[in-house]
């Protein structure tokens, strides 16, 4: 860094000259970048447009070649029909129960554990934290069979318990994310509050949590998305239709209406929409959450 600094000073004049030369290219480069970015954007968006386009087609128009992008007529009633057939509101209820309770469990437990790892000194802290990190690399297949056997003997299979209860014991990824954030809060706050006679739980509730709203929001959003889209867990633990969340219900719907793409796409649009809306409303927290965990290898 030192070396770079001295070079920069020495050649200040040269730098100005280069800046001037650079600005001539700027406009062309900018246009070039906009064209490339826009082209790529179309590529990324087209599948979504195709999904919507199919969702509003008359059934017989789905199989027309070449396809119409904006169908004539636009058939909005595909949506209510598809939702009715797949019993949407019923499965939405299941998804909402699972999603809200796992969010509660994860937020509560992960933030407490992260607080413990970030603000307290105790024996084996580093070792335990390494263990926690290494469980992120553990393939869940290694634990799922014994867990399934145990949950079967507890008669938890076909209930939401196997999906919800583990979330109350903290999730390594979220603990890591929150700890990274808590570490940016000065430890002295913790210590000062102790001297003032506040208990640790009070500090956690009145200082740490309010200061960490952005990180908490990231966790809440990730957990929402994860639970909303989860397929493997419900697939393993639920085998009665009336327990199915939306993800499994959509899969079952496809099993029966496998060629009714106007219905399947209409249902898919509706199921995808909440995630997209949440993302647009809370994009900032999303990006921050990914960055917070992704950077430290």
């Amino acid at each position: 860094m030192l070396l770079t600094g001295s070079i920069t000073k020495q050649r200040d004049g040269e730098k100005e000259l280069m800046k001037m030369r650079k600005s001539q290219f700027n406009l062309l480069t900018k246009i070039f970048f906009y064209i490339v970015l826009s082209g790529l954007s179309i590529g990324f968006l087209i599948p979504f447009l195709w999904m919507i386009s199919t969702a509003i087609k008359k059934p017989e128009y789905v199989w027309v070649f070449p396809p119409q992008w904006i169908p004539n007529p636009v058939v909005w009633k595909n949506f209510p029909e598809a939702l009715k057939i797949m019993n949407f509101s019923f499965h939405l209820r299941n998804t909402l129960i699972i999603t809200s309770l796992t969010m509660l469990g994860t937020l509560l437990s992960s933030s407490l554990v992260a607080y413990g790892f970030a603000m307290f000194r105790f024996k084996f802290r580093e070792v335990l934290f390494m263990l926690l990190l290494s469980t992120m690399m553990l393939p869940s297949q290694v634990t799922i069979i014994p867990l399934f056997i145990v949950f079967t003997s507890l008669r938890w299979v076909n209930t939401f318990k196997p999906l919800i209860i583990p979330s109350f014991f903290g999730s390594p990824f979220f603990i890591f994310l929150l700890r990274q954030f808590f570490l940016t809060i000065p430890r002295e706050l913790n210590e000062a509050a102790i001297i003032d006679g506040a208990g640790y739980f009070t500090i956690y509730r009145k200082i740490i949590l309010p200061l960490s709203k952005p990180a908490i929001a990231s966790v809440a959003i990730f957990q929402f998305m994860g639970a909303w889209n989860d397929f493997f867990g419900p697939l393993v633990y639920l085998n009665q239709m009336e327990k199915y969340p939306l993800s499994l219900a959509l899969y079952a719907f496809r099993g029966v209406y496998s060629t009714d793409w106007h219905y399947l796409m209409a249902a898919s649009v509706v199921i995808t929409l909440p995630c997209l809306i949440v993302f647009f409303l809370a994009q900032r927290y999303f990006i921050q959450g990914i960055t917070l965990t992704g950077m430290k290898g």
């Binding site: 599948p47 000194r121 297949q141 069979i145 399947l264």
Partner: protein
Amino acid sequence: MERKSRLAQREAKYGYLFISPWLLGFLMFVIIPIIASLYLSFTNYELFKPGTSWIGFKNYIELLTQDRLFWLSLYNTVYYTVFSVPLGIGVALILALLLNRKLYGVTIYRTIFYLPSVTSGVALSLLWVWLFNPTYGLINVLLGKIGIQGPGWISDPKWAKPAFILMSLWGVGGTMVILLAGLQGVPEQLYEAAELDGANWWQKFRHVTFPMISPVIFFNLIMGIIGAFQYFTQAYVMTGGGPVDSTLFYVLYLFRQGFLLLRMGYASAMAWLLFIIILLLTIIQFKLASYWVYYEAEGR
């Protein structure tokens, strides 16, 4: 002195108290199941079937020497991993480099590139089944427009795996965001110094950008490979392993053995082999990392 150590003791006590939910969960949902799964892998345990007995390495021997589908599923998974992970990181890096400019409205593009990663699972898998439809699917329609007769994609054993790889590239948004954050952390002075020395864009990339973000790439490589080895939902929804087992990925086969055939001992052995493979790959990568990953000196 005594007061201080009492404080430290109190701190330690509360530290353990706060992490206790995880400790308990770690014990109940990780440690005990891991041991149980190792034990099961040496038995012929089948759910709802009495008469489980210890059979030693028989499951492992059967997997490695007799089970054609095991090797096929491993091959399919390695194939998918070898292409989708590096390609995914490459595409994510290109997107991140394009976005790493002070352009007006650049966040809109970031949003668009990230959008497919927001949702995953069944809805988007169905969308891709439809996109890959050989005759009426959008991809072949577009290919047809430029005079290319598109393949059968997921209905063609030769093209099914490439189809999944292509699809995976649509979801590189997460990696892109991480890489972008890495790029934004590269100090501006390094580029200025390189420019003054007359470096062109490639030299700048090769000698400044790449070394500086190599730890981030490394992290994504590790997590990407671990994720790719556990590829499941999309394949389960879109092909169920077909056609002719060409997309029978490892975890799909494990699921079939464990939860459809209920051969849980056998499936446990598969899970342990997967664990070992992932562990070995991760260790190898850490060993190789010293050749290409650049770590800044500590204590900046």
